[in-house]
């Protein structure tokens, strides 16, 4: 399989923005402004046939051919009919990669124009993303080709999760949500119509990208099935991939002759292939974020036995229910040694069993005491801690106890905290210290199941 080098697109030393405009309403203006706001430190060139001498202090060239310097990336944001010609100029100028932000190609029925774009990209061997896409974001290299102003869409911090997205709208929504999460972003790649660079090329690049620890993706359809299978087989042995597939409509089923063909529609086929090659299938947008969170912070579990430690009986039981319904996780049976030690140090009202209910007056110290006993229990592979901050005992010291235990243990550990402002404050505190926090037993346990299933897939054979 031919590998396409996307490095000049994501780590460019020089960028030309074609369609850069003085008019704040124009896409080309927002893109240029975002580059300036993001603090991009490479060389930046503005290109516009008629924009005058300068935009925001950046010199404007009439054509990319006039720049006469090495250009790693051209971001093209001009009306569709002018795109092939602009790309031709990029090719002649030796531009290494291009992103076509403009829409008005195959997605609106203009397949012929898109074919011309592909021909130019191939002629000059110039990997081209899009058309009809948001482009890329890389907080490390401070690349941001999004035409959405920063006041509308918050930019995520630096992290290990790369997000590959076919749809622009899903892309910007999820990015906005990622900016509120502790895990941070490695790369965002929105590839739109996938005319030249598609998901196979992108996965191929991200597989070897050391800054990417986890990949989350949204796809509508896979273009090159056989090549996709080749990369899918390899990539999940290296890093986890979470996928959300759109389109559960039963298209094509009407034409089926056998039972088999009638059952195996497009969605089922994609979902089955994702499962077969170890992808984690997300059911909705929240799953993408929940799974990204656990995959980016937790090591893979070595077993399936979970200890649940709570300061609220009811949420403990709900969590135990989710664990037993997960089909893969199990409630741990604490060793006799742990039980004896707990009985000695816990107040009489604490029932020594799993889930371990530390009671509503449990404070940071009680959490620490219980965890320190259970830390040496060989029957426990995973810790799920429930901290309900509405209770009398739970405050920032409880959060601090968990953070300090998290630093010591090698086993996967997550927290469930449900609540509004006071809880949210502690959630940020714990997450910024690398402890994933979930706001429901279902979200927590489905994420944990995803982690365990991936671990089993990765380690077998």
């Amino acid at each position: 399989m031919k590998k396409i080098n996307l490095r000049p697109m994501l780590k460019p030393a020089s960028v030309a923005i074609i369609g850069a405009s003085r008019d704040p309403e124009k896409v080309g203006h927002v893109i240029l402004q975002n580059y300036l706001n993001a603090g991009y430190s490479g060389k930046l060139y503005a290109v516009n046939k008629n924009a005058g001498a300068e935009i925001s202090g950046i010199k404007v060239f009439g054509s990319v051919l006039e720049i006469k310097q090495e250009i790693d990336l051209a971001v093209i944001a001009i009306p569709a009919q002018f795109v092939p010609e602009a790309m031709e100029e990029c090719g002649k100028a030796g531009v290494k990669t291009a992103i076509v932000v403009s829409g008005g190609f195959a997605e609106t029925g203009n397949k012929e124009l898109q074919d011309r774009l592909v021909k130019v990209a191939e002629k000059y061997n110039m990997p081209t993303l899009g058309p009809n896409c948001l482009g890329v974001m890389d907080p490390r290299s401070r690349i941001d080709t999004l035409f959405l102003p920063t006041y509308k869409l918050s930019r995520p911090s630096v992290g290990g999760v790369s997000f590959v997205c076919q749809s622009g709208a899903v892309g910007s929504t999820v990015l906005d949500l990622i900016s509120g999460e502790g895990f941070g972003l490695s790369k965002f790649i929105s590839y739109g119509n996938a005319a030249n660079v598609d998901e196979v090329d992108i996965l191929n690049y991200l597989m070897d990208d050391e800054e990417t620890k986890v990949i989350i993706m949204y796809v509508e359809g896979i273009k090159r099935g056989k090549e996709f299978i080749e990369i899918a087989k390899k990539i999940t042995k290296v890093k986890p991939v979470v996928v959300l597939k759109a389109g559960r409509t039963p298209a094509g089923i009407a034409a089926a002759h056998s039972h088999t063909a009638a059952l195996a529609g497009d969605y089922e086929t994609h979902e089955s292939i994702f499962r077969q090659f170890g992808f984690t299938v997300a059911e909705d947008i929240n799953d993408l974020l929940n799974y990204a969170k656990i995959f980016s912070s937790e090591s893979l579990p070595t077993g399936n036995k979970v200890a649940v430690i709570t300061n609220g009986g009811g949420v403990g039981v709900l969590t135990a229910d989710e664990i037993s319904m997960s089909g893969c996780l199990e409630m741990s049976k604490f060793t006799k040694r742990s039980c004896d030690a707990l009985r000695k140090i816990m107040p009489a009202l604490v029932n020594i069993r799993n889930p371990l209910d530390l009671a509503g007056d449990a404070d940071g110290e009680r959490y620490s005491d219980a965890l320190s006993v259970l830390s040496t229990d060989d029957n426990i592979d995973i810790f799920v801690i429930i901290t309900l901050f509405q209770t009398p005992g739970a405050d920032s010291r409880a959060a601090a106890s968990l953070i300090s235990f998290k630093e010591k243990t090698d086993k996967p550990m997550i927290d469930i905290s449900i609540g509004a402002e006071y809880t949210r404050m502690h959630r940020i505190m714990m997450e910024s210290s690398g402890l994933p926090v979930y706001d429901s037993p279902l979200a927590a346990i489905s994420s944990l199941s995803a982690l365990l299933k991936y671990s089993i897939y990765k380690n077998r054979k």
Binding site: G225, S258, H259, T260, A261, L263, A264, S272, Q276, K461
Partner: protein, 205 residues
């Protein structure tokens, strides 16, 4: 338009890959059908490319002995005249067991796919099936069976799991080595006491 493979051509293909099929033969008269029933009750089925879903169209007569065979044969022959060309097949009656479906299809993007599900008339109602792209591995077969909600019905014992896994591997091999096969249904495939038989076969080129 896919073409339905002749029943016995399909039968031979399956046998070449070690997949067991129930004893069957074409019959062209009630007498031949009666002769075939010497070893026990039989089923009669009308085969026509104009009637794909035999059960739904009332073109399957089950558990026939003696004089029932004659009546069933003439009824099918009458219906067959409206669906020409047709053939009537006599099959040894399968002993009751767990009915599953094993199938294959061709996806334009990914190639040959293989399917397993709870079989008979239930598969379309409950949509309880697992799908993979071929060729599959032993691990894939285990995952497919595990994925079924009805896995405890389908696999009565660990031995059944191995047997079904074996069938899936054989069908996967068949699909990969016979690219011209576009769709395949073994429905039902009946499992009983540690053995199985494909009871109805539909293969499309």
């Amino acid at each position: 338009m896919p073409e339905l493979l002749d029943y016995f051509e399909g039968n031979r293909l399956l046998k070449r890959y070690g997949i067991s099929c129930i004893d069957s033969q074409y019959v062209s008269s009630a007498e031949e059908a009666i002769a075939f029933s010497k070893r026990g009750p039989i089923a009669l089925k009308l085969i026509s490319s104009k009637a794909i879903h035999k059960t739904k169209s009332g073109l399957v007569k089950l558990n026939l002995t003696g004089s029932e065979i004659k009546a069933a044969y003439s009824e099918l022959a009458r219906k067959g005249n409206a669906l020409k060309p047709y053939k009537i097949i006599a099959q040894k009656m399968a002993k009751p067991g767990i009915e599953i479906i094993v199938g294959g299809k061709t996806d334009p993007q990914f190639g040959k796919l293989i399917l397993i599900g709870l079989g008979g008339i239930y598969v379309e109602v409950f949509k309880d099936f697992a799908l993979r792209v071929c060729p599959i591995t032993k691990n894939d077969t285990i995952d497919m069976i595990e994925q079924l909600k009805s896995r405890k019905i389908v696999t009565f014992s660990g031995k059944d799991t191995d047997m079904i896994a074996g069938v899936l591997l054989k069908v996967s091999k068949l699909l990969i080595e016979n690219q011209e096969i576009s769709e395949l249904d073994l429905n039902p495939l009946i499992i009983r006491a540690g053995s199985y038989e494909a009871v109805d076969i539909r293969i499309f080129k």
